[in-house]
């Protein structure tokens, strides 16, 4: 059923930004960079009970080149850090980063010789979700906030780095 059914034989006007952002917001393709416990909660999120597809983000892509939302879920060690950086670099613009759980956000209680104290040392982060691990509801809220506060405010007139 086309847009005519809603608007009839009339005109609608909008901006390129609104159309693009509307599309981007509701067709997120997450790249789940799951390393630890949080990844198990992500499984809960994509399963029937919480069902991330209600928010347009269920097309999980394990190839960074096909995804626009990098979900970092779990502890990032110094051994893992170059890989995370490489995965982020491989993603095409526009792209967003969600840091799930305290380990990814700050190192959590792993304040020691092998753990990166927050992935924002390596890559820019758009949204942080607290919890160890966060509940799926928290993750859903983060995705909604990301859609509303970051993606919806993208503009074709600004470079991605200015957009923030």
């Amino acid at each position: 059923m086309g847009v005519e059914s809603a608007f009839g034989d009339s005109w609608i006007t909008t901006t390129i930004d609104s159309v693009l952002n509307w599309g981007r917001e509701h067709s997120l393709m997450p790249m789940p960079f799951g390393t630890a416990c949080c990844a198990i909660e992500f499984m809960g999120l994509v399963s029937s009970e919480y069902d991330i597809s209600r928010f347009g983000a269920e097309i999980v892509r394990f190839s960074p080149r096909q995804s626009d939302l990098l979900m970092v879920m779990g502890t990032i060690s110094y051994k893992q850090a170059p890989i995370l950086k490489r995965v982020y670099d491989q993603m095409a613009e526009p792209k967003w980063v969600l840091s799930m759980g305290v380990c990814a956000s700050s190192g959590g209680f792993y304040d020691n010789y092998c753990t990166v104290q927050g992935i924002d040392d390596l890559i820019p982060v758009d949204i942080y979700v607290g919890g160890c691990p966060p509940r799926p509801e928290g993750l859903i809220e983060a995705i909604l906030k990301l859609q509303e506060q970051r993606i919806a405010r993208q503009s074709v007139l600004t470079q991605p780095e200015d957009a923030a």
Binding site: F33, C37, E41, G44, S48, T75, Y113, T115, R135
Partner: protein
């Protein structure tokens, strides 16, 4: 048991430093030069299974020790259920003979002791770092290494040295030039040189075949070239959907067949052992949640049980029963995730949803019981954090029925499915001898036909009073590993029903000063109670000086803790014996000769949980 110590001292005399009967098992301390002989004697005596190998640094230990470092071996006699601890002090040259010739599992364990403590194992084929990255300087578990001394990594190891070793073992020759080329895959020459102390290697057996190694996607084959003369090198992981984000397998492919494979771990090494050394025993419990995070409470209980053994505590009957019930429920949901994701790796997505639906229902119970879905921290030294809520037993019975329905449904879908059967039967077979040499335990070992389950072999928490069977396989292929887990879900449900039907009343915490917190009434209303509470929280439960090894049957096998106490409220050394580590050590041997897709399927079937693997 002291009979063993008497015989061993009679045989070796002053080649031993001392023998003593520990709270857990007989223990002997020997001179490094006697290690191989004593181990050979013990193996002859029946101790054929290397349970664990760990380094200890006594630098800050209050009681003087013969040497700063020691390597501690735990051996097990599977036929009669005896254990023995062998402690080998390390001299100033830091050298200890390697046991890699006797047990394949010693390879990675010795690499870990080298990585964490800098102990050199003479005769080890390739002594290099395993948990920490290859640019790391120093040995973090040494007591003089500051816990926050962080060392960033610029580029990951190309693993060329290990690949060259394995290719040579398969009869391939990897000329220097091609090795450089291979290193060029990652634009780095790291790892080309052999690790210090590693002997040079000649090609073993057969007539060597010269094979040109060519990086992926570099040009076309020349006209008339033999397709099988060139190997292709591919990294499976660490960022790969089937590798759980943290396992890396570097493979040399001939077509789709894996000729040689090298596994690299440590991507989720997060310093469990070092971090817990500065925590009180009860504060270690949340760290144990994050070992095998698919069944967090099994780890809680295993750790608490080890500390209780060191304390000589007997927990209350109700605590035992609840630990059994919740532990078995955790085992069930662990197996659900393992089978579910394994089937996803085989392309069967639906089963995953069926299993995750019931897993969510178990989460709801755990959430009500402990306040958390995944990382529950429900165990406490001497008991549990809290008792069952009203109606918990009834909730569990309902969810058990639903789990059984889901399992029956999935079994119907796969059991006679020809595509599934052809993907898993006789694939990546691990014979019992190989599994034992690698130190496999748990469902993976039972799939090979070895009936070893700690719940039967060394019953704890009253497991001897429940009527259940251990499930074993016959061949040790991917099929067996999956169906042993299917069977165990049923057995666990049986145990839970029995335990619920005769759940004793009573407290869920021991009444012992210095272990259990005083009642809130005491804490708030009298100074002695308040002081007691304060000291327990800040100084922790004081564990008598000494060492103890204690193991429980985790979801993946023998989950052991070797705790060295200096008498304070914090573990001086907290070694975790992770079953996944032993399982994954065998992975390269398992998959060589098989296709890439089969390797993925068998990786799922050995259920590697990175938190436990890398700690």
């Amino acid at each position: 048991m002291s009979d063993l110590l008497a015989r061993v001292s009679e045989h070796f005399g002053d080649r031993l430093i001392e023998t003593l009967q520990g709270v857990d098992m007989p223990s002997l301390r020997l001179r490094p030069e006697a290690l191989l002989d004593v181990v050979a004697w013990l193996v002859e005596d029946g101790f054929g299974f290397l349970t664990d190998l760990a380094g200890v640094d006594y630098l800050k230990f209050p009681k003087a020790q013969p040497s700063r470092f020691a390597v501690v071996y735990h051996l097990y006699d599977m036929a009669s259920g005896r254990r023995v601890r062998v402690t080998c002090p390390v001299g100033d040259d830091l050298k200890v003979p390697s046991l890699t010739g006797r047990w394949q599992g010693a390879d990675w364990l010795e690499r870990e002791a080298w990585d964490q403590y800098g102990i050199l194992f003479e005769g080890h084929p390739n002594l290099k770092r395993i948990l920490n990255h290859h640019e790391f300087v120093g040995h973090p578990l040494r007591k003089d290494y500051p816990i926050r001394a962080r060392q960033p990594l610029s580029e990951n190891d190309a693993l060329v040295d290990e690949m060259a070793l394995r290719l040579r073992a398969r009869g391939y020759v990897l000329p220097e030039v091609e090795r450089d080329l291979l290193a060029g895959i990652r634009g780095s020459d790291h790892g080309v040189e052999a690790a210090p102390g590693a002997p040079s290697h000649g090609s073993r057996g057969g007539s060597p075949v010269a094979v040109a190694a060519r990086p992926v996607g570099q040009g076309r084959l020349p006209e008339g070239a033999d397709l099988h003369a060139e190997l292709m090198f591919v990294n499976l992981g660490p960022s790969h959907p089937a590798s759980h984000g943290t396992l890396r397998t570097f493979v040399a492919l001939d077509g789709e067949t894996i000729v040689a494979a090298v596994a690299e771990i440590g991507y989720l090494h997060r310093g469990f052992e070092k971090s817990t050394e500065s925590q009180t025993y009860n504060a270690c419990v949340p760290y144990t949640d994050r070992l095998n995070y698919c069944s967090a409470m099994l780890n809680n209980f295993a750790f608490c049980k080890a500390v209780e053994k060191a304390l000589g505590l007997t927990i209350t009957p109700r605590t035992k029963a609840i630990r059994v019930i919740i532990g078995e429920l955790s085992r069930i949901i662990d197996h659900l995730v393992c089978i579910g994701t394994n089937l996803v790796d085989l392309g069967a997505l639906t089963n995953f949803w069926y299993f995750f639906n019931v897993r969510e229902k178990v989460y709801t119970i755990f959430d009500k019981l402990t306040g958390a879905r995944l990382t529950n921290s429900y165990g406490r030294v001497g008991g549990l954090a809290r008792d069952f809520y009203d109606g918990c037993g009834a909730d569990i019975l309902v969810v058990l029925t639903e789990i059984e329905a889901a399992v029956a449904e999935v079994e119907t879908l796969v059991k006679r499915n020809r595509i599934f059967l052809e993907r898993v039967q006789d694939i990546c077979v691990v014979p019992a001898a190989m599994a034992l040499s690698y130190g496999w335990t748990g469902p993976n070992l039972r799939a090979t036909g070895v009936d070893y389950d700690l719940r039967k072999a060394e019953p704890y928490d009253g497991y001897e009073t429940y009527d259940f069977e251990t499930v074993t396989g016959t061949v040790g292929d991917t099929y067996d590993r999956i169906f042993v887990r299917f069977g165990e879900i049923g057995q666990s449900a049986r145990i839970i029903r029995q335990a619920l039907s005769r759940l004793p009343e009573g407290p869920v915490m021991v009444e012992a000063k210095g272990v259990s917190l005083p009642s809130k009434d005491d804490t708030y209303n009298n100074i002695e109670g308040l002081m007691n509470h304060f000291k327990l929280v800040f100084e922790g439960v004081k564990v008598p000086a000494g060492e103890v090894y204690d193991a429980s049957e985790g979801a993946n096998g023998e989950l052991g803790f070797y705790i060295v106490s200096d008498g304070s409220g914090r573990p001086y050394r907290n070694r975790c014996r992770p079953p996944s580590f032993m399982s994954f050590a065998a992975f390269p041997d398992m998959i060589e000769g098989h296709m890439v897709a089969d390797a993925i399927a068998s990786l799922g079937s050995i259920n590697i949980i990175a938190g436990e693997l890398d700690r």
